[in-house]
């Protein structure tokens, strides 16, 4: 039986009655890495919020495992799907281990007993995100890149089939961006985690994601495997940027070099 996966069905999302994403339908292919790309305000974050049950749909529905997400208890959803927000926060003074342990919450019993399985999952998640070395330090003593890996460890500790991330690389330097993306690729490869990430860097998206969803104005403009999707025409349409797209001869990955703003008719 095919995994029904995570699906948006005629989904309309917004804040305070104002729609940001309109009647959007898309199916996230299970077991793959999907990157959401699009300019600021195109609805990437809003879509991620909707897909993770953090906002209630104004219309349509999100289906997880074939059932409406909104009808499933939040604890059950949290065992299937983890989210890493754009700017996660933690109170000062919490150690990395304490914070990552919070990822086990949805798996714990009614009295919250901490089991050996929780401990094993915690250590596994910290190892996968390579934060074990500073597990006993507090978050405020870490660099931006280390902190980002802690948040990824927290999401991995949830042991979910789906991992949704809102711009996990935006505020990091190049090496730390690569580190984050490779952690995600590794989680996808070794655990089969389905990953959906909003990314700002088109080349990064094309390099690491299997599928791209290009968004503009709250709608999907294109959705498909990265190599076929990234074209000069799409970039002009989605970002309003004139670009040259070549295929990297070694990796077979599309590489985009922006040339300038596209002329108005292209928008």
């Amino acid at each position: 039986m095919a995994d029904p996966g995570l699906e948006a069905d005629g989904l309309t999302l917004g804040y305070a009655g104002e729609a940001v994403v309109r009647a959007l339908s898309a199916r996230i292919a299970p077991g793959r890495i999907t990157a959401l790309i699009g300019p600021n305000g195109s609805g990437k974050s809003t879509l991620l919020h909707g897909l993770s049950r953090l906002i209630r749909p104004m219309g349509g529905a999100v289906l997880l495992d074939g059932a409406t997400l909104q009808d499933q208890p939040s604890r059950a959803v949290a065992r299937r799907l983890a989210v890493m927000p754009q700017r996660p926060e933690a109170p000062e003074g919490l150690t990395v281990r304490e914070l990552v342990a919070q990822g086990r919450y949805p798996h714990r019993g009614p009295l919250g007993a901490w089991t050996a399985a929780d401990g094993a999952a915690l250590e596994r998640a910290m190892a996968a995100a390579r934060v074990t070395a500073f597990a006993d330090r507090t978050l405020d003593t870490l660099s931006g890149g280390q902190r980002q890996r802690v948040w990824i460890a927290l999401a991995l500790a949830q042991d979910t089939a789906y991992l949704l991330l809102d711009e996990p690389t935006t505020f990091l330097d190049m090496a730390h961006q690569i580190e984050v993306m490779e952690t995600l690729v590794e989680a996808n490869r070794s655990r089969g985690t389905t990953i959906v990430a909003a990314l700002h860097d088109l080349n990064q998206a094309a390099r690491y994601a299997h599928d791209l969803i290009a968004m503009a104005g709250g709608a999907v403009v294109a959705h498909g495997p990265a190599p076929h999707l990234v074209t000069a025409e799409l970039i002009a349409r989605v970002f309003g940027v004139e670009a040259r797209v070549t295929l990297d001869p070694m990796l077979g990955v599309p590489v985009c070099v922006p040339l300038g703003l596209a002329r108005p008719p292209a928008r």
């Binding site: 939040s74 065992r79 927000p85 933690a90 003074g93 919490l94």
Partner: protein, 336 residues
């Protein structure tokens, strides 16, 4: 056992032990202090030996004992209540007063006193308890717009408190001066003339609420990271927050019914606890209860001795001594 960092666990043990020692010393001093001064040996004898002088046993068992027990219970209730509210509203300035409990209790108490309804000993605490609950319900109801955003909850609390204090002033203007004086004394938070019934009432609520608060520590830790973070880890945010606020309101109402409006303790005790053991609620909440108990017991003792034989209400002492200490602490550590 969740993976608590060893350092924080050690600090919790040390902090809790220090509170225990401080409470024991305060208890002996407090039971010995008064118009019939008793040394530590006499206090211990009065507690344990039925052949001790009758006057000693009366002073310790019937007069000073319940007063000390109320102070400890009220302090623990306020400390726990403040810790719960600060986590649930993500506001380090939250305290029991902020959700209207103190203001509502004060208004109800002043009304009860000035209308003569508080003639019986039981009526005043009951009125205060009910007033606190009603005001807190009003705050939660007014702040509810399909959910309770923490900032809206706090601001609504400030508004309701302002209305209550305006009404108190209005009542005070028209009431008989002796009634106003009695009401003011109550508002200042005095522990004068408490009996074992008062102590039992507040202790019973602490005994129920504190274990509940400790059990919900993981939920508190998640709520402290924000609604989305909590929701994405499987917390039903609104029911959880309302449950925690309800627990905090009950504790604060129990405290205000037993001792009148006492400010600062519910704000500072959780702060001090977090400075010692960090933000983890499993340690910070019980330590806040202990610190609250120490602060109240100390405030009552100081209030009785500082200007003896005149008595300064414990609530006034707590604010005079504690608030500057908190300000100094915040400046020194840069905790925001």
């Amino acid at each position: 056992m969740t993976p608590h960092p060893a350092a924080a666990r050690r600090r919790f043990v040390v902090g809790a032990a220090a509170c225990g020692v401080a409470l024991s010393l305060l208890a002996v001093a407090s039971l010995g202090a008064g118009s019939l001064p008793l040394g530590p040996g006499e206090v211990l004898r009065a507690l344990s030996d039925p052949t001790a002088p009758e006057a000693h046993r009366l002073a310790v068992g019937a007069l000073r004992g319940p007063r000390l027990a109320v102070a400890i219970g009220v302090g623990a209730a306020l400390g726990t209540s403040g810790a719960l509210l600060q986590a649930a509203t993500r506001n380090p300035l939250a305290e029991p007063g902020i959700i209207g409990v103190n203001a509502g209790a004060a208004l109800a108490a002043v009304l009860a006193i000035t209308t003569g309804a508080a003639a019986s000993a039981l009526a005043l605490p009951l009125a205060a308890f009910a007033g606190g609950l009603i005001a807190a319900l009003a705050v939660c109801g007014l702040a509810w717009q399909g959910g309770t955003a923490p900032a809206r909850l706090v601001l609504t609390g400030v508004g309701v408190a302002a209305v209550c204090s305006a009404l108190i002033t209005l009542v005070a203007v028209f009431a008989a001066i002796t009634d106003v004086q009695r009401a003011l004394a109550w508002l200042a938070g005095s522990l004068n003339a408490r009996d074992w019934g008062d102590a039992a009432a507040v202790w019973a609520q602490v005994a129920v609420a504190l274990p509940l608060a400790v059990v919900s520590a993981p939920v508190l830790d998640l709520l402290a990271r924000g609604d989305d973070a909590a929701a994405s880890l499987g917390i039903a945010v609104e029911p959880a927050r309302l449950g925690i606020v309800a627990l905090a309101v009950l504790l604060a109402a129990a405290a205000v019914a037993a001792a009148g409006a006492i400010a600062f303790v519910g704000l500072a005790a959780p702060h001090l606890a977090r400075l010692i053991v960090g933000p983890g609620a499993a340690r910070a909440v019980p330590l806040a209860a202990l610190i609250g108990a120490v602060v109240m017991a100390a405030a009552d003792l100081i209030g009785r001795r500082a200007l003896a034989p005149v008595e300064v209400p414990a609530g006034v002492v707590a604010a005079i001594l504690g608030a500057p200490y908190l300000l100094w602490l915040l400046r020194r550590t840069g905790v925001g």
